[in-house]
């Protein structure tokens, strides 16, 4: 009979144990209660005796290994004759065998069974200390209002506030208070009117020049954080005029799509443009992955078009459209915004001639594309000097220019 030795539970709180030392080796004969293995529990190292007599045919856990309680660690064959054949042979018990369910007590919390609290019958005038204090400050007669049923008994702070707001502010005025994050009590005291309406509040806000305060959205916060990181990057700028009349003649797709495709192809010959600097290491990626700045309302996204070098112009154009849609619908995934080493931002479509873009963190550079004037566009580059030096950047830019003037190449873009 095969007997599986499992990781024993040596203490009441032990969940896993470590094999310190095997006291027997494969092929050894063990008697019942003879020390078999040393195991380290959460409390101490202990000798664990064998529960059966037989031959230790297989050791399943190496010294130093940590295993959950209940996991098989060795096999003992209790029939000695059979054991002779089996010593050292692979045993069916696989290490990958699913460890037994941990006997942890469930922490799942169910709260359905809570009975509703009993209604406390208290005399009018009953209120929490803070509610009573607030009512006093606002000059409300608690007892009287509770008698009329306008405030519940016992009263809590929330009840007093709600009553106070309804009584002294019109509904539209309350909305404005919320919008401007104003404290109703302060406003009430300062305006000093019995019922405050929208006009009163608007006048108050204007005279006091109170701003609307707004927290940036999560995505905006990330953007702000990244922009701050950008200022830590040592950069330099290069501006160059490109003749794109060939592209304008062709124009089957947008200029941005053409530019992304050409940049992606040229990047293949310029490994530095495919390199980013991160935590003291350079990372050079094989693919030409280019991120594109897309603005939606007040938010700015920077999704990535991947493997530009292997894609047709049409595919690049479609990818770009697809990412625009996703940005608008806020459906960009983490996958969509990762992996770029170079970035492109185009303000040419608004008629801007030239601008110097801020480099996103973990990019080798970014290009700012201006509007075409007589077939010429002005492109300004911002490079991370730690990654790309001036000569390497110049070579990249000149190569881009060559490609844009290469009739055969431009025509080949489909």
């Amino acid at each position: 009979m095969e007997y599986k030795v499992v990781m024993p539970q040596l203490t009441d709180t032990m969940e896993e144990g470590k094999i310190v030392r095997w006291l027997k080796k494969e092929g050894d004969y063990v008697k019942k209660d003879e020390p078999l293995v040393e195991i380290e529990s959460d409390k101490a190292v202990m000798e664990v005796p064998s529960m059966r007599e037989g031959v230790l045919v297989k050791i399943l856990a190496e010294e130093g290994e940590e295993l959950p309680v209940g996991q098989p660690i060795a096999v003992i064959e209790t029939e000695v004759e059979k054991a002779k054949e089996e010593v050292g042979k692979p045993v069916e018990v696989k290490k990958e065998e699913k460890p037994p369910e941990k006997r942890k007590e469930k922490v799942e919390i169910k709260v359905e069974g809570i009975k509703p609290p009993e209604k406390i019958k208290l005399p009018e005038g009953s209120a929490s200390p803070s509610a009573r204090k607030l009512a006093g400050e606002l000059g409300l007669n608690l007892k009287e209002l509770q008698g009329k049923g306008e405030i519940p008994t016992p009263a809590h702070e929330k009840d007093i506030k709600e009553y106070f707001y309804k009584k002294f502010f019109t509904k539209s005025a309350l909305d404005i208070l919320k919008e401007y994050n104003l404290d109703p009590e302060d406003v009430y005291k300062e305006i000093g009117k019995k019922k405050i309406d929208k006009t009163d509040l608007e006048r108050y806000i204007k005279t006091k020049n109170i701003p609307i305060t707004q927290k940036p959205s999560d995505i905006q916060s990330v953007l702000i954080k990244n922009l701050s990181k950008s200022t830590q990057i040592p950069v330099y700028y290069i501006t160059h005029q490109f003749d794109i009349s060939l592209i304008l003649k062709q124009e089957k797709y947008t200029i941005t799509a053409y530019i992304i495709k050409i940049f992606g192809d040229v990047m293949q010959d310029h490994p530095k443009i495919r390199t980013v600097y991160r935590n003291g290491m350079f990372y050079t990626y094989p693919s030409s992955n280019i991120s594109v700045a897309i603005s939606v309302g007040e938010e700015l996204f920077n999704p990535t078009i991947k493997n530009v070098e292997t894609k047709s112009l049409k595919q690049v154009y479609e990818d770009l459209q697809n990412l625009r849609e996703k940005s608008k619908e806020k459906k960009l995934t983490v996958e969509d915004i990762q992996g770029a080493t170079f970035s492109i931002s185009n303000l040419g479509m608004f008629g801007i001639k030239q601008f110097f873009p801020v480099i996103p963190p973990f990019h080798s550079g970014i290009a700012g594309i201006g509007v075409a004037v007589d077939g010429i566009i002005s492109v300004s580059f911002t490079f991370d000097h730690r990654v790309v030096n001036g000569v390497q950047a110049a070579q990249f830019v000149i190569e881009l220019e060559k490609r844009m003037k290469d009739q055969k190449y431009i025509k080949s873009l489909k």
Binding site: D12, T13, M14, D42, I109, K110, G113, I114, S128, E157
Partner: protein, 325 residues
Amino acid sequence: MLYREALNKALDEMMEKDETVVILGEDVGFYGGNYRVTEGLYAKYGEKRAIDTPIAENSIVGNAIGMAIGGLRPVAEIMTVNFILIAMDQIVNQMAKLRYMSGGKVELPMVVRTPQGVSKQLAAQHSQSLERFFTSTPGLITMVASDATAAYYGLKYAIELDDPVIFLEHELLYPMKMEIQERKDFDPFKADVVKEGKDITVVSYLKMLHDTLQAVSVIEKELGVSVEVINLHSLNPLDMETISKSVKKTGRFVIVTEEPKTGSFAGEIVSKVTEELFYQLDAPPLRICGEDVPTPYNRKLELLSIPTPDKIAKQIIYWGRENGI
């Protein structure tokens, strides 16, 4: 890292830095501690600095007091708080009093470390939480270590103090995996707001802090409120400043402890809150504590006798609804 390893690291570093730091207790030397907190220290520092004592708690603490008066910085381990009762005469009549009775001439830089609380089925005599005895004895500092950060920085701080410290740990925390957070400015006399919220203040420590944190999201979802959770590192002195700031914001106070309710430390903290913050309170303070029974051995009954994440959630939700949330 495990919680107990954080304690071990603190002891090791202090013993390495200052040769007047010695440890003593039952099995703390050769065996490495019943919960392995002092593992490796005997081998590293020898039998004169990792001292195995007889099973005689009163003399362990008595010896430590003598050592402290004589210029050492002893860290005594009492295997569990249940056995400290034998040593209460030394603790209450000597350890807590000598600094005062000598007019400050005698310094007592000593720590008594001990775990408390319900583990798993160790029965009534081995499952107690006795913080009330120490917090109600003037002259003692009572610290608690609820996580690895408080264990590591807190114990080092306690050893460096020239006053006597009772340092409470919890048996179920020892094998728990947690990391020491970088806290160069760690001050055990300032409580940590471990989770910010604006509607309910919940204070806890040791194992119950972890149970409370598990219950929080359920409470928030069910009551539609946000809960602030405060982790105490010291019970006496108590950081009322942090508690007060929180209660002034929330108007509602809950304390969760494992000890039986009657005469509890939880009762003391509620008194302080009520005295100082009466007019800020929007609901009666709530104590969630152990039941007033000797801890049962039966696992189901044992769990019924102390707060669990489930019970913490249910009690706070019921209390919230009862009091205007």
